[in-house]
């Protein structure tokens, strides 16, 4: 961990002013990604700006029915928040499937969105990694790549996006509010993370000095049943090998609306739009789920050690859809009762 300067900001304007658009400076809130990577000498900020005390710790329901989450709300607070538990159980399940109690107590909503890959070659300052050091190559392509992505990959980078929370955001639909030297703007969550393509070092749409201030969830699917299923080697405290987050709404036996996103298999939080399309109006039965799973993975690119992720992700999708469907009716009733 190289030396760096440190400043604390108490409002977003001050934070942005201190940052000044200098990309050697970084914001810090939970620190669970940043301090980890600075200790590994993978990130070498010249200055850190503490934004954990910004007044962004509220979770509130907007008049239009959406839920606005302050950037500094911790993952624990968000997962246990009554409004999230009631209206967005997928988000609560996904957050609680990630990391550990301690990390969830530290990590913030915006910090989770900004989480970096766990690719071991990215995390090793001596390895070749286009994401860390553009043009240096990718040691993962022909190295140990069991944990790596099969969707959204390029020949420059196959690093997996590690977040569970972001899988739920991708499925639920959300808008990020950004604030920066040029003012305030909004961007759809699913447009925020970039595919690696030719430039894996550009991970997202944040401009220099910009800060995420809020994440606003789309209105919940009426009558939707939710299931987040995370498949991994051990029972806890491990990143996903494959995960699927699904929300299913039914009309009778037929799927009237569905949201599906994948984790552990893609280079960004992965909304499975082809699968959603395949499910629309179909009976909520195993054969429909299997067709959708095939659609979701039709463009998957396996490498030496991660080919199993394709059938594994299929299984995650089919089971998550099954479980979400089973819960669909209950949710409708609950919502109805509570108006």
């Amino acid at each position: 961990m190289r030396p760096f300067a440190f400043d604390t900001a108490t409002d977003s304007g001050a934070a942005i002013a201190i940052h000044g658009g200098d990309d050697r400076r970084a914001y810090i809130a939970g620190g669970t990604t940043l301090i980890d990577l600075v200790k590994l000498d993978v990130m070498r900020p010249a200055a850190l700006i503490d934004v954990s005390r910004l007044p962004l710790a509220e979770v509130e329901r907007l008049d239009d029915g959406r839920l606005r989450i302050g950037a500094a709300v911790t993952n624990s607070e968000l997962a246990h928040h009554p409004l999230v538990r009631e209206h967005y159980p997928l988000l609560a399940q996904a957050i609680l499937a990630g990391a550990s109690t301690q990390i969830r107590n530290m990590a913030t909503t915006a910090g989770n969105v900004m989480q970096r890959t766990r690719c071991p070659y990215y995390r090793d300052a001596a390895a070749a990694c286009n994401r860390r050091e553009p043009g240096s190559g990718c040691d993962a392509l022909h190295g140990i790549n069991r944990m790596h992505a099969v969707l959204g990959v390029s020949e420059q980078c196959i690093a997996t996006h590690p977040s569970d929370m972001c899988v739920a955001l991708a499925a639920l639909g959300a808008t990020l509010t950004l604030e920066g030297p040029e003012g305030r703007r909004e961007i759809a969550f699913n447009d925020f993370h970039r595919l690696p393509a030719e430039h894996p070092e550009i991970e997202h749409e944040l401009a220099p000095g910009e800060l995420i201030t809020h994440v606003t969830l789309d209105t919940p699917l009426v009558g939707g049943g939710a299931a987040y299923l995370k498949l991994r080697d051990r029972a806890s405290y491990e990143f996903a090998l494959a995960s699927a987050g699904a929300v299913v709404a039914l009309e009778g036996e037929v799927i009237s609306d569905v949201r599906l996103a994948l984790g552990g298999v893609a280079t960004k939080p992965w909304r499975a739009v082809e699968a959603e399309r395949a499910l629309d109006g179909q009976p909520a039965v195993a054969s429909s789920f299997e067709v959708a799973a095939d659609a979701a993975l039709q463009d998957a690119v396996p490498r030496e050690h991660n080919a199993f992720k394709i059938p594994l992700a299929r299984q995650a999708i089919v089971r998550a859809l099954r479980d979400a469907t089973a819960r669909a009716g209950t949710t409708t009733t609950t919502r109805g009762n509570q108006g």
Partner: protein
């Protein structure tokens, strides 16, 4: 092969940080890159909190900040100004072991003891956190951020159950 490197950073200015640990206030002059764990151990001599991995992967460094369990290895000391920090040294009160400590003793919920302060800090926070369910599965999941290579998990769970029933017996609020 040559390691890449950018220009050598200068040693940034030290900060004055006031830490409140186990109810006592300490004024420290620290480099900005000092994490809470190292400040506790190296500057305050509170070596009961352990460094197992230094990267938030094991839980040995667990302390409470404002009542919540966190990994002190991933928290800059400078960000703890004004927060109430509790370490294992602050668990016992008036010379009596905390119910979690007593339960760990009674249930032999440890072997080498190196992960133990972190285990107990997580257990104590868990018992005070009404949001976490009471089933074995939920407790085990909530405790999974604390690795124990000796594998004393069975006795750790028994100790949490003992401490929980004692707290209930005392009429302690959950």
């Amino acid at each position: 092969m040559m390691d890449h490197s950018d220009a050598p950073p200068q040693d940034a200015d030290a900060l004055t940080v006031t830490l409140t640990v186990n109810g006592e206030t300490h004024r420290l002059t620290l480099a900005p890159n000092v994490v809470l764990l190292d400040a506790l151990r190296d500057r305050l001599g509170l070596t009961g909190t352990k460094k197992g991995c230094d990267h938030g992967q094991c839980g040995a460094c667990t302390v409470h900040v404002d009542g919540r369990a966190i990994n002190s290895c991933l928290r800059l000391a400078a960000m703890c100004e004004g927060r109430a920090i509790t370490t294992v040294e602050g668990l016992a009160r008036d010379g009596a072991l905390h119910p979690v400590q007593q339960a760990f003793l009674d249930q032999d919920a440890y072997q080498c003891g190196f992960c133990t302060s972190g285990q107990m800090m997580s257990a104590a926070a868990l018992l005070d956190d009404g949001r976490i369910g009471d089933s074995d599965a939920e407790i085990r999941e909530a405790m999974s951020g604390n690795l124990c290579r000796c594998g004393a998990y069975k006795n750790i769970l028994a100790a949490i159950r003992q401490a929980e029933s004692e707290a209930r017996g005392r009429g302690g609020d959950a």
